[in-house]
């Protein structure tokens, strides 16, 4: 349970595992989460996510791994976000971790399929700061809304184009982050766009 993890861990930050095959999207979701005071680990595939959690091929993974939330893209080569969701919910160690699915496509049957399988929520891409803040609040409340309910088939809100212009109080807390994607290591931290002759 997310709240139990928070009280027992030394850090009060949520640790989020973000899964997306798009390099650009990983960078954006990482920043969205860090600016929302979360610790972030990004991986580029469902398989890598399972490896990180120690769920693949019976490996035990890190004993003291505390992940409070998993945010995953739906359409990924190899293991889709839905398949990853299923594997997580099938695992006794990780089934309590809330999983949020992201997708660029607003396909109702897909959304329902994920919610029925136990997804916490479904975000339509491109993901905005307001979406992340909402998810974080949901997680911090420990899923109170789900108490006494069986799996609800409909997400709390999927309307992407709400005029939600509530300005984000962006806290630039120095949040720790850890990237374990093998492909993520290329970008030096202060790379500027180079001027090239066009």
């Amino acid at each position: 349970m997310a709240l139990k993890d928070l009280s027992s861990s030394s850090s009060s930050e949520l640790h989020v595992l973000a899964v997306d095959d798009s390099f650009v999207d990983r960078k954006v979701i990482e920043r969205l989460l860090k600016i929302s005071a979360c610790k972030v680990t990004t991986v580029e595939s469902g398989t890598r996510a399972l490896q990180y959690l120690g769920l693949d091929k019976g490996s035990s993974g890190l004993k003291d791994l505390k992940v409070n939330l998993i945010v995953t893209d739906y359409s990924m080569p190899g293991l889709t976000g839905y398949e990853l969701l299923k594997k997580i919910k099938e695992s006794s160690a990780f089934r309590e971790i809330p999983v949020v699915i992201m997708s660029s496509e607003n396909i109702q049957p897909r959304i329902e399929q994920c919610m029925v399988e136990g997804a916490e929520d479904f975000l339509l891409k491109p993901v905005k700061l307001a979406d992340v803040k909402r998810i974080k609040e949901l997680i911090m409340r420990g899923g109170e809304a789900k108490e006494g309910l069986t799996k609800s088939p409909s997400p709390k809100r999927i309307l992407q184009n709400d005029i939600d212009s509530s300005p984000s109080s962006s806290s630039s807390l120095i949040s720790s982050s850890q990237d374990v994607s093998s492909l993520d290591d290329d970008t030096p931290s202060s790379k500027r766009m180079k001027l090239e002759p066009s």
Binding site: L32, S104, K125, K128, L129, T187, K191, M193, L195, S198
Partner: protein, 157 residues
């Protein structure tokens, strides 16, 4: 700090970025990205768009190869490339690029090679155009900072 110079640069920046939105180069998602930039991550937007442009170059190159031979087009690969570009352009607010991708997908769905080639050319043009425009924008930002000023927050209501 020369406040007159800073003021001029800030106005120039403001006008330029507004024009980019008005001409449809950028959409609201770019505004969202700018919200994520602060003193702790002053280059965030430049870094993300840089990744995006690198992505564009690579994917366009791969799609070009797939579309090369008229008798042997790998539409599945092209579709995958278009999907990738549509996603990443959407994530950074690159509106024109995204719109070309929508048309591109339609050509791909009906396996229209000629249409795909036209879209490929167009998406190449659009991302390069945007790259130039944003470079100019970032240069203006740098000038403002070097003159001791702050980057204006621009709201596009």
């Amino acid at each position: 700090m020369n406040t007159i110079v800073v003021g001029q640069l800030q106005r120039q920046f403001q006008d330029y970025i507004v024009s980019l939105y008005q001409q449809g180069y950028l959409d609201n998602q770019f505004t969202e990205l700018r919200k994520l930039q602060d003193e702790g991550s002053p280059d965030f937007v430049a870094e993300v768009v840089s990744l995006f442009f690198d992505d564009c170059a690579k994917v366009i190159n791969d799609m070009s190869t797939s579309l090369e031979r008229p008798d042997h087009v790998d539409f599945k690969q092209v579709d995958s490339g278009v999907h990738q570009l549509k996603g990443s352009s959407s994530s950074v607010g690159a509106r024109r690029v995204k719109n070309v991708c929508i048309a591109f997908k339609e050509c791909c769905d009906v396996q229209n090679r000629e249409g795909c080639l036209r879209c490929l050319q167009q998406v190449d043009y659009e991302y390069k155009m945007l790259k130039t425009k944003l470079q100019d924008l970032f240069n203006l930002e740098q000038q403002i900072l070097q003159a001791g000023g702050t980057i204006p927050q621009v709201s596009m209501n």
